[in-house]
């Protein structure tokens, strides 16, 4: 009897439960996911938790300098890695954020190979931007006193940077760890039922689910970075931003989508938002928007678009959808500026994209970042000038302009210390390129060559030496890197707030390491300004707009452009100022570009037909790198009118200032070691500066644009 009731219960109960579950699942397949959302209500977002990292420090005894309403040019580097970056530590770097900030303030610090790195002149601002991804973890694996270092996956890192292992010969071990161990062994998730996995889900913190991850170590690295920035921030004299790098890429092609994020505050999130949270930059912007809602402003700055295989500045979104206005606005809200130049090459333009620009072949790095073996990166979609043009085209088809950004440079050094000077160059990845023979500027000796070959074949990589006149050279891609990247900002004073605001309004410029400074204005009455009057700058601000701004159409008048550049007193004299114009044909959206010389050195004038300055005769002596002392300008200024101005065309104008030629770092390396410069590399370069553009906005056009396919999702409203 009892047995029967049980069976009955089971017979009725089982299908009943089955039907209920089925019902719930059925309800939940709709887009709104009502049931799943019930669970989601229990989630908290750890990445939006804020922490005040301020430090108590003795008040500065120095007086606060006066605010300059006409703004000062401040120079800095907002892309610096220290030992907390997973790769920097593998590269032998032991410099801490404190070391990095001390370097920026003018102190010497030690390179992993033992020599001193020191700036000729201190910088005005600096930001340590370690990779958010696995921040601090590798260092903990290496320190054998931590518990986590005793795990299997941590073993290869144990005492990696012990002093006797800081040598070039450990490069093989290091590169191998970098690519294989990191890519596979470490990123193993715990099983779904593991407490850490559940914690990860409930706090939207995916990385906690990873077997090799320790959240406390991660947080303590991040808080040390934030503390260091706050400790070194010295309002009026030196600005330090809390920052990190969001190191993402496209999945299959490995297109580089790296961005640096900096905070305008001593308060920051409890952890950086990283590629483990999402590979999609749009999710980064959503997080930034979330922080902004909580009163913390951040900007993210893309870099190395040159190594993105055309994916940094695509005509579609990360997921392959059409770009629309909401996307464009969200991107511009969070990414007002882009790093145009750094150690890993310059992303102004490429000779294939700008065949008529004689200066386009400059520090081109044509490999995808971090690819193995170094793989070709497609130029289209990878360079800034084309992005500006594509932005106009997207705007033409009413999709909004997601590429209306200003420009800065920075180094991306991984040693804590930026390398800006061609004659005193240490590249950026520590032990891997800290010696001339390793970066391919002087021949390898036999033992080094053999080591490199063995190592390459051991890891199934192509031959990476090249036989030239003077012997066998390393050819691992470091020859395409260079001493580059400074950020310039026009700000009222050297404070976090003032410089951050300059970034936001794009009143910024980029240089290749030289401290060239450039002013740039556009307006309809700038020709009335006396270029020799002290009131020049205040009048230009009053009568025009400056770099990073829009110049609105005013009765179809042709605008005047005022540009003024000053040389780096420790660098070469200036050769010329150019204005680079890009525009689209308003009947078809076809992009065009033109490079105009607008001011020449040595009292010469521009040829109106070729738009070029005559040769000023400046030369470099390749035997000792000495340069002509009697050619070039200490400053150049002019007011310029566009001879081909079309008041109906959407256009942009940005300045490029060129120095007289000087020796490239590879030439300096070779000469110092008693060799001739390598014949397949550029012997000289022209250091340069770029301003952020000024966009000319014509009166609204009445042409109806209907893209074929007629998507209504884009819309006009």
């Amino acid at each position: 009897m009892k047995k029967n009731t049980y069976i009955r219960k089971i017979l009725i109960g089982t299908p009943l439960i089955f039907i209920i579950v089925l019902g719930l699942i059925f309800v939940d397949v709709y887009d709104s996911r009502p049931i799943l959302n019930l669970f989601k209500k229990t989630q908290s977002d750890s990445a939006l938790q804020l922490v005040d990292y301020s430090v108590d420090k003795p008040a500065s005894s120095k007086a606060m300098p006066a605010v300059n309403p006409e703004r000062n040019a401040y120079f800095g580097d907002v892309h610096v890695h220290t030992k907390y970056s997973f790769d920097a530590y593998v590269f032998g770097v032991t410099a801490s954020p404190d070391d990095a900030y001390n370097y920026a303030k003018g102190q010497g610090i030690s390179h992993p190979l033992g020599y001193e790195m020191k700036l000729r002149e201190p910088l005005d601002f600096y930001s340590v931007t370690d990779h958010g991804f696995y921040m601090g973890m590798i260092q903990a694996y290496a320190d054998t006193s931590t518990d986590i270092s005793q795990e299997d996956f941590a073993k290869p890192f144990n005492n990696l940077n012990r002093p006797e292992n800081l040598n070039v010969e450990s490069a093989a071990e290091r590169s191998n760890i970098f690519s294989s161990v990191l890519a596979n062994a470490i990123i193993q998730p715990n099983p779904w039922w593991h407490p850490d996995t559940l914690k990860a889900w409930f706090t939207k913190n995916t990385q906690r689910a990873l077997n090799s991850f320790d959240y406390d170590i991660h947080k303590s690295a991040w808080s040390d970075i934030a503390r260091s920035a706050n400790e070194h921030n010295d309002p009026g004299h030196f600005t330090a931003f809390i920052g990190y790098e969001f190191t993402t890429s496209t999945d299959t092609e490995g297109g580089n989508l790296h961005r640096n994020v900096i905070f305008n505050s001593s308060i920051a999130s409890i952890r950086p938002w990283t590629r483990i949270d999402s590979l999609n930059p749009e999710d980064l912007w959503t997080w930034q928007d979330g922080l902004r809602d909580k009163g913390i402003d951040t900007i993210s700055m893309p870099h190395n678009s040159n190594g993105s295989n055309g994916q940094m500045f695509e005509m579609e979104t990360f997921k392959g959808n059409a770009i629309n206005r909401a996307y464009a606005e969200k991107r511009m809200r969070n990414e007002p500026i882009v790093e145009i130049t750094q150690v890993k090459g310059t992303s102004d333009t490429h000779p294939l994209l700008s065949p008529d620009d004689e200066w386009a072949d400059f520090e081109i790095m044509d490999k995808r970042v971090g690819s193995r073996p170094p793989t070709y990166s497609k130029p289209s979609g990878s360079y800034v000038r084309q992005a500006y043009q594509d932005g106009l085209t997207l705007d033409f088809t009413k999709q909004g302009n997601p590429y209306k950004f200003g420009l800065i440079g920075s180094t991306d050094t991984h040693t804590g210390a930026g390398s800006f000077d061609e004659s005193n160059y240490w590249s950026k990845v520590g032990l891997l390129d800290g010696r001339p023979s390793n970066r391919g500027s002087v021949p390898l000796n036999q033992a080094q060559g053999k080591l490199l070959e063995e190592y390459m074949s051991a890891f199934n990589q192509p031959v990476s030496t090249v036989e030239l006149d003077q012997g066998s050279y390393a050819n691992t891609g470091f020859t395409q890197w260079g001493a580059s990247g400074l950020a310039g900002a026009w700000a009222e004073e050297n404070t976090r707030d003032s410089i951050f605001k300059a970034f936001k309004r794009k009143e910024t410029f980029a240089t290749t390491g030289s401290r060239i400074a450039v002013r740039f204005f556009a307006g309809y009455d700038l020709s009335s300004i006396d270029l020799n009057a002290d009131s020049l700058v205040s009048e230009a601000y009053a009568k025009g707009v400056t770099m990073g701004s829009d110049l609105m159409n005013e009765g179809n008048k042709a605008p005047d452009f005022l540009v003024w550049a000053q040389r780096d007193k420790n660098g070469a004299a200036l050769q010329r100022i150019q204005i680079i114009k890009g525009w689209i044909d308003m009947n078809s959206g076809t992009p065009h570009e033109e490079v105009y010389d607008v001011a020449c050195s040595d009292g010469m004038s521009v040829d109106p037909i070729s738009n070029r300055c005559p040769d000023n005769g400046a030369r470099v002596n390749i035997n000792d790198c000495s340069i002509s002392q009697d050619a070039g300008a200490s400053e150049l200024k002019t007011v310029w009118n566009d001879p081909d101005f079309d008041s109906s065309a959407k256009s942009f104008y940005y300045v490029r200032v060129l120095e007289n030629p000087t020796c490239r770092w590879s030439t300096w390396d070779a000469i110092k070691a008693g060799f001739k410069p390598r014949e397949d590399l550029h012997e000289t370069i022209q250091e340069r500066a770029w301003s952020s553009p000024i966009w000319y906005v014509p009166a609204p056009s009445d042409i109806t644009v209907i893209p074929l396919g007629g998507s209504i999702a884009i819309g006009d409203s």
Binding site: P58, S61, A63, P65, A66, N68, E70, N72, A73, E121, P122, T144, S145, N158, N159, R162, E164, A517, R519, L531, N532, A533, D534, S535, L536, V537, W564, Q566, R567, K569, G603, A633, S634, E635, L636
Partner: protein
């Protein structure tokens, strides 16, 4: 009689040898685990997991401890600690920390004053200068124009035709280093001789020539120790930490004889 004694003696010896043979070096095989060690492991467990370990888990913790100790001792017996860089480094680290930690935390007033006196130059407040200037661009005959301008301005006060300077006209409370950063070292080196409230120059800079009116100059000075006490204390502690290890090494070094192959080729 003699034989009996020697028999007894031999038996005693035999028993003793057997005893040694069966239980060699008794103490060396004891593993003592202190209460402290266990309680600290349990509290570490508690803070990680959020509850007390069960009896099973305690057993496992202790068992791990025992196994680790056994492996460690066996490794020592096999001499695996010899010539191991990781172990060397770790021990060197330990003694470094030890030497650094034995410092007294709060330096005495006397020590602070001594340190300040020794490192006075680090706390020197640089002299500052406030000035205005006329700039003559190197692009436009700067030497001749600036020479004419200084004569003009010293004879009458008529208006001077000059060029706008990229970095502005008036400079307030700038140290010599800051002036060097803006104008170059050649220019800033003149500031020791310039007299107040009088047009001077022309002076060459990296960008041309300037005539300068020095409005104010504040001499440099050594601040009272009370003004910079915090900083002095921070610096002294840092210096002590740094020197603790080096003085220790210096003391000990003389006891060592260091032998390096003089013919080693790099």
């Amino acid at each position: 009689m003699k034989a009996k004694i020697s028999i007894f003696f031999s038996i005693g010896l035999l028993v003793y040898l057997i005893d040694i043979g069966l239980n060699p070096d008794d103490n060396a095989k004891n593993i003592y685990i202190s209460d402290q060690e266990i309680t600290s492991l349990i509290s570490a467990w508690k803070s990680q997991v959020g509850r007390n370990p069960t009896e099973d888990e305690i057993a496992r913790i202790i068992n791990n401890l025992i196994e680790e100790e056994i492996l460690y001792r066996e490794a020592l017996l096999l001499g695996l600690d010899k010539e191991d860089r990781i172990i060397k480094r770790r021990l060197a680290q330990k003694i470094t920390f030890l030497k650094q930690e034995t410092l007294t935390d709060k330096p005495s007033n006397e020590a602070l004053i001594n340190f300040y006196e020794l490192n006075k130059n680090n706390y020197y407040i640089q002299p500052t200068f406030s000035f205005t200037h006329y700039y003559f661009s190197a692009e436009n005959n700067s030497k001749a124009r600036s020479n004419a301008a200084i004569k003009l301005i010293l004879s009458s006060s008529s208006k001077i035709k000059s060029d706008p300077f990229f970095l502005g006209k008036n400079f307030i409370d700038k140290t010599k280093d800051e002036i060097s950063r803006n104008f170059g070292k050649i220019f800033s080196s003149n500031f020791n001789e310039i007299s107040l409230d009088q047009w001077s120059g022309p002076f060459k800079s990296s960008f041309g020539h300037h005539i300068v009116l020095l409005k104010d100059s504040k001499p440099g000075y050594f601040p009272l120790i009370t003004e910079v006490l915090n900083q002095v204390e921070v610096d002294l502690l840092a210096a002590q930490k740094e020197s603790a290890v080096t003085t220790y090494i210096d003391q000990i070094k003389s006891e060592y004889k260091i032998i390096i192959n003089p013919d080693l080729e790099f």
